[in-house]
Subunit: 304 residues, 2 copies
């Protein structure tokens, strides 16, 4: 990725992301059962994985979009936390021996390594349930809004239009050749769907019009693609320390990635295209979208 | 269990259960992605496990309670199907090698045996998502009711008050001695929570008053206990054919059960007590509860 192009903005955004991360972590802490709640092991496992120092990108995006639509932050936090719970449940299950068989996540042992496989399966299951509970029981939002959000999140997290479908396609792809269009579809579902949905949920809570929601959807889609392209890119270029997981894993597992299909130069160009498209979508909004643009810059320039 | 005490009623109830099973299966069929939907394998796995000839007890209970409160059946069916999806997701995950490691369920290969472990994990995950989606998108119910139902189902399915907590306790119990009170708590969470909740959701859709909901909760709690006691009992007495799974498994895995802790005679007495308590709770309802009483009879006398 081009480095330092947006350094000034990135530094400002760092502070903003740190602020939303702190808020989301307070919310997660209050929504999740304590480690001392019986049965203790599963609650310890849930907290082990949720509080592993993730970037909280999806919640940050939801908060940023919501605030662009003037939603009060207290109306956004439970849904933002719910997205992080769904994201974390998917990481716990993806890391299982029967799936990607990863020992390291966010720089420390994965849930099934630290605890055991059965506990990791249940912790993921429970996190999904807790995510829907957080939205269903949010007193700041009308029942209509809560239903719209839950419906949105189920589509993005499930199958055939969401994350689980993407994971299923991805597993199939490990055993056969995929082309560029198929790779993009896997990414769109596996990573993109939840990112788009986080952006959309911010807009829904903010009372976006239909046209505004379409622009946010376009922004989120291109941002999701950008996120995955840079993820693949970093798997080739980054260090384990910056990444918090084992780099080079994709290549060793013969997994199709942007670099493996298109080479590094074309991957870099695709990232810049996705960044432009995301920013173009923001032009359609008569809202303060500066932070959203800087989030796109941040993803383009990320190093971990 | 005493046999033939309620034979006449049981035969009538059989027809009623068959009717509600057929309705629920039509609903499940319309809610679940078709086997031909890509990615095909996960949708085939979902349908393999959902359409494996289950008794559909939770949906039947929800329909029966809802109808006792004069709810139109079309208002009950999506929530009833959602309960069966959550129940099936829990069976798929419980059967995994890292959990109970079962090869046979409802008389045929379990999901991970027929497909593979990764697909079984994802199929369970997706079924949970689809369950909440079915309720969130039910056009027959007000947003307020849908939110009440989703909130109810998350509590019953999750942790620390629901099914996943029960499963976590149950796993712990395999490695140490449990006493009668602990065994009852495991049952209350692992099996009872979803059964009580199915009864409660029928009453919620039917617009039950607070007192009525309390009576339904009492009925459902005792029915759930009865269900688990008879389950343990059948694990000792039934044949594999009647049971659709390998009997005697609990004893071989040193799992605490009613018969292993209390002996067969006391287990029989506990079942009759739970049946009486369930029927007593129905006395508090000024509603047509004949079918609900016969469901309790049916569970007391079941042979598979």
């Amino acid at each position: 990725m081009p480095s330092n192009l947006f350094l000034q903005n990135t530094l400002e955004l760092d502070a903003l992301l740190a602020g939303s991360r702190a808020l989301v972590e307070v919310e997660l802490n209050s929504l999740l059962p304590s480690s001392a709640t019986e049965p203790e092991k599963i609650h310890q496992a849930i907290r082990w994985s949720v509080f592993a120092g993730g970037k909280r990108f999806r919640p940050a995006l939801l908060l940023a979009v919501g605030q662009a639509f003037s939603a009060p932050i207290k109306n956004l936090l439970k849904t933002a936390a719910a997205f992080e719970m769904v994201h974390t449940y998917s990481l716990i299950h993806d890391d299982l021996p029967a799936m990607d068989d990863d020992d390291l996540r966010r720089g420390r042992p994965t849930c099934h390594v630290r605890f055991d496989e059965a506990t990791a399966i249940l912790a993921g299951d429970a996190l999904q349930t807790l995510a829907f509970q957080a939205i269903a029981q949010d007193p700041e939002l009308s029942p209509e809004t809560r239903i719209a959000l839950i419906s949105e999140l189920t589509r993005a997290a499930g199958t055939p239009e969401g994350m689980v479908a993407g994971q299923a396609f991805d597993m199939e792809a490990e055993t056969r050749q995929v082309n560029g269009a198929q790779l993009e579809e896997i990414h769109r579902l596996k990573t993109g769907a939840l990112i788009v949905s986080a952006a959309r949920c911010g807009a829904i809570i903010g009372g976006a019009s239909k046209d505004e929601l379409a622009a946010v959807t376009s922004y989120g889609s291109h941002l999701g693609l950008l996120f995955q392209i840079t993820d693949d890119f970093l798997d080739v270029t980054a260090t384990a320390e910056a990444l918090g997981k084992t780099p080079g894993k994709d290549a060793r597992s013969n997994k199709a990635t942007y670099p493996s299909l298109h080479g590094m130069e074309e991957t870099r160009a695709a990232a810049i295209d996705a960044h432009h498209a995301a920013c173009d979508a923001l032009q359609q909004l008569d809202r303060p979208t500066d932070v959203l643009r800087r989030i796109a810059d941040f993803i383009l320039n990320r190093t971990g």
